[in-house]
Assembly symmetry: C2
Homo-oligomer: 87 residues x 2
């Protein structure tokens, strides 16, 4: 399934979250990731995130769809390079 | 159509962008908006944004779908209250 993951996290935990998300998804903007991922892998990602996030202060939104085809994307400005390829 | 709009914008322009987006969409997280919007209204929003954004530094991503039904949403932590209703 295709997901979009967006987080809003206190600065001191951002580095850890960024590193975690890059293991599973592609980084496309400051706090936005996208990619193909299985339900199991997504659950794994979210469980790992929950372990260090403070859910009173932080939030993570995940938008799921069965296929990326229905999503049209429009970009103003620069989309982040796919640095993830090097991880 | 249903859209998700996510921006990554230099701090000095964030207030203006927030105010603009809240005129068209619902605020769901720090720099994330969602909602039903027509192509024409979306174009209007993006044109207004382009007028004050610096597209070398800022970026705006818009994900579009014909219907929200395709999107399942999962939330960790708090989703922002719909303050937009009061605007």
């Amino acid at each position: 399934m295709y997901v979009l993951l967006v987080y809003d996290i206190k600065e001191r935990r951002v580095g850890k979250m960024l590193k975690l998300c890059r293991q599973y998804l592609h980084w496309i903007q400051n706090s936005v990731f996208e990619g193909e991922i299985s339900e199991v892998k997504l659950k794994e990602l979210l469980l790992k995130a929950e372990a260090f996030l403070d859910l009173d202060e932080d939030s993570v939104l995940v938008f799921k769809s069965c296929t990326q085809q229905w999503l049209q994307k429009e970009v103003l400005g620069q989309e982040r390079k796919r640095l993830d390829a090097f991880l």
